[in-house]
């Protein structure tokens, strides 16, 4: 960073020598928004926000970078921040927000938060990511949870299955499907999908307390425990129910298999519901949403947030307007109905939601109250990206047979996590 300092000094000198920097005349009434929500439903939902802001006189400057769960967008964001030219706000996930906050790159919207009393309505666990040292610097848009299974109702009826309540029942159900000649489990074989599924498997196998101990506290004995081994074994069992071509498949293609009835079930976060809706399928009638067997009552969450960057004073008003609009009850409801997730504030009425949405909202409230509301390891909500990346590595290697036994899987997991810490 040395040369940057030097060059900056040069710039500073140049400006000091010649001209006193004149203040910008008026407030910049644009909201520059970096995000990767480029598909129909999400874009439509964001358009609501855009419209809300337009009513208040703020223009929306769209900066979409699609793909890779925001990988491209995160790179662009890093470049923008490094250039000292951050967007007004950016869609951001989990610990990435913490990183930017700790680096002092985020702004302060505490005044608005206090006024609106967000601390009361946003689940406490989420506030870990939206506040830093008590200061609000990001707003949550939604709460996703990853411990869902999505089932094609017609197929379930055809094979004569019922809702599985435990992991063993789940396996039995998958067996039934297999016997009936249906692909039991639709899976996209990409590291993050496998890891996301493993989140649920661990919570199901060891219970939510075990999950917390292992992934939130990174307790080594838990990571090495037989329960963790059993979780890996359970994951291995699930692999037997996939079709042979699962590797590298995008998650929405897997969802499509369920929608079309080619496959019975997909283990996926509630964003999968958006796919069903886009295919004009109705919750409860065409498809069913259950908690991952053995995890009912717990919510393994991830959340989309808008991080509010440290912008010059003239862009501050627009930023606050964006934050305010994002947190409005109407937007939270409208957006999450489309997105499949549940509102990030718990005082949003569930009237507009379908049965899955209603269940989701209720689950979040209950889990938040019971302390069963935990961040997803796979989605960077339990640990920073380095550890989550190590977790992805081990799970995907195990799932694809590079790591052969659950014994070595737990050893590798501990080793990889320690190396990444």
């Amino acid at each position: 960073m040395k040369f940057r300092t030097m060059l900056m000094a040069g710039v500073a000198l140049a400006s000091a020598a010649g001209f006193a920097a004149s203040a910008h005349a008026a407030d910049d009434k644009t909201v520059q928004m970096l995000h990767w929500w480029t598909s129909g439903g999400e874009a439509a939902a964001l358009n609501v926000l855009k419209g809300d802001l337009a009513k208040e006189g703020f223009a929306w400057k769209d900066v979409p970078v699609a793909g890779g769960g925001g990988e491209g967008a995160m790179t662009a964001l890093k470049a923008m921040v490094a250039a000292g030219n951050p967007p007004t706000a950016s869609q951001i996930l989990g610990y990435f927000a913490v990183d930017y906050a700790e680096a002092g790159k985020l702004g302060d919207i505490t005044s608005l938060a206090t006024k609106e009393n967000w601390a009361k309505v946003v689940p406490t666990a989420l506030q870990k990511f939206t506040t830093t040292n008590g200061k609000w610097d990001a707003v949550p848009v939604n709460i996703h949870s990853v411990n869902w299974v999505w089932i094609n109702k017609a197929v379930l009826e055809k094979i004569g299955g019922t809702e599985p309540k435990t992991f063993d029942e789940f396996i039995a159900l998958l067996d039934k499907a297999k016997a009936a000649g249906v692909i039991p489990l639709a899976l996209g074989g990409q590291p993050w999908q496998e890891a996301t599924m493993f989140d649920s498997v661990v919570a199901s196998t060891g219970g939510i307390e075990f999950y917390k101990k292992a992934f939130v506290d990174l307790d080594e004995s838990a990571l090495k425990s037989d329960t963790m081994k059993k979780s890996f074994d359970n994951l291995a069992k699930l692999k037997a129910y996939t079709d042979p071509n699962f590797a590298g498949r995008d998650w929405n293609l897997a969802t499509a298999m369920v929608i079309k009835g080619d496959a019975l079930v997909q283990v996926m976060g509630d964003w999968a519901k958006g796919e069903f809706k886009a295919a004009n399928k109705e919750a409860g009638k065409d498809f069913l949403c259950y908690r991952f067997p053995g995890t009912d009552g717990s919510v393994i969450y991830n959340t989309d947030m808008f991080a509010m960057f440290n912008v010059p004073a003239d862009r501050k008003a627009a930023q606050l307007a964006l934050a305010d609009a994002t947190m409005s009850i109407s937007f939270q409801s409208a957006f999450n109905v489309v997105k499949g997730s549940v509102p990030a504030r718990m005082d949003v009425p569930d009237t507009a939601f379908d049965i899955c949405g209603k269940k989701g909202i209720a689950d979040v409230k209950a889990a938040n109250a019971d302390g069963k509301f935990v961040g997803s390891m796979a989605q960077n909500y339990a640990q920073p990206p380095a550890v989550a990346g190590a977790y992805h590595d081990v799970v995907t290697k195990f799932f694809h047979g590079e790591i052969k036994t659950s014994d070595s899987a737990v050893t590798e997991l501990v080793k990889a996590i320690n190396a990444a810490k």
């Binding site: 040369f3 990183d99 071509n245 590797a247 590298g248 990346g389 995907t396 290697k397 590079e402």
Partner: protein
């Protein structure tokens, strides 16, 4: 021809008018013209390499920082280099670079040369065929990768098509088999770049002095011998150009890997470029990413510098 066989330092060394400012300016003009480009390269390439080098000794995570930690990032990579069971991401990246890079470069050269030789046999419709081999280069690696991923997908692509034709035992599932995936990346890469190599070789073939070929024919060289002993050796400079271009494409083939494999399942399609990218940008271990970038550059330098050196030297002698 020129008299002096010893390489002169300069082809044209102009007299230097002493004293006059104008004269000196004239004298320095060529260097002044080159200077901006060279300065840009120095800053934007070598400056950045230095910066990366510096970062590789820090514990930079999401952002660059100045906290020096010595060689620990390199130590990490060094340990990973020997972790083969299960393979560490870095080990896989190195192995894959060898596999992919080797296959990609060798097959592109072989296929390019073959196509060029075939096309050079006074082919009717050459003007029609040539763009067919050349066009894949016009597509970006992302498009290439996506097309090949679909094309090779056993469920909807080639395998299914062959099954539909009636050959149901046909199996080609490399693109979903983590162990074989890297070969699919190579196939897509070869498809994309071999046409360009073909063009290079075709140009090389067309540039060979006809008299040399006549002489070889009179000497009794048959078609195959003629290519093996005369034509291919003459085209050494073409190999040089092709190799430089292919190597740089192989090193940078980041988009291709991710789009063909679908985000690298099982970590099996890791390449140094994907490794570096993911550590720098998605795993927020910038220092490790930087160290891997430095190692990658040193490896390239170890291979390319002697080669560049000998080729550049030889030519001017």
């Amino acid at each position: 021809m020129t008299e002096i066989t010893v390489a002169p330092l300069a082809d044209v060394t102009m007299p230097r008018p002493r004293g006059s400012v104008r004269g000196r300016l004239q004298d320095a003009l060529p260097k002044l013209v080159l200077a901006p480009s060279f300065a840009a390269i120095l800053l934007f390439v070598y400056g950045f390499i230095l910066w990366t080098f510096y970062l590789s000794f820090t514990n930079s995570k999401a952002f660059a920082n100045d906290h020096l930690v010595g060689l620990s990032n390199y130590q990490k990579l060094w340990t990973w280099t020997f972790e083969t069971d299960p393979p560490s991401g870095w080990y896989t990246a190195i192995i894959n670079m060898g596999l992919f890079g080797g296959l990609y470069v060798v097959c592109c050269l072989a296929l390019g040369l073959t196509l060029a030789i075939l096309l050079d046999q006074k082919i009717r419709g050459e003007g029609f065929l040539r763009p067919i081999y050349l066009y894949p280069l016009a597509l970006s690696f992302i498009v290439t990768g996506t097309a090949w991923k679909l094309f090779l997908d056993p469920g909807i692509g080639l395998e299914k098509a062959v099954h539909d034709l009636g050959w149901t035992s046909f199996s080609f599932d490399w693109v979903v088999n983590p162990r074989m995936m890297i070969y699919c990346v190579a196939i897509a890469g070869i498809w994309a770049s071999s046409g360009f190599v073909m063009a290079l070789f075709l140009a090389g073939l067309r540039g060979i002095d006809g008299e040399i070929l006549k002489a070889a024919q009179i000497d009794g060289a048959s078609g195959f011998m003629m290519y093996r002993r005369i034509i291919i050796p003459i085209m050494r400079p073409v190999f040089f150009s092709a190799l430089i271009i292919l190597t740089h494409l192989a090193i940078k083939s980041y988009d291709l890997v991710l789009s063909v494999t679908g985000k690298n399942p099982g970590g099996a399609a890791e390449l140094p470029s994907t490794f570096m990218y993911s550590y720098t940008f998605t795993r927020n271990q910038m220092a490790v990413g930087s160290a891997s970038a430095i190692i990658m550059l040193m490896a390239i330098a170890a291979i390319m510098v002697p080669y560049l050196y000998s080729e550049l030297r030889e030519k001017s002698q």
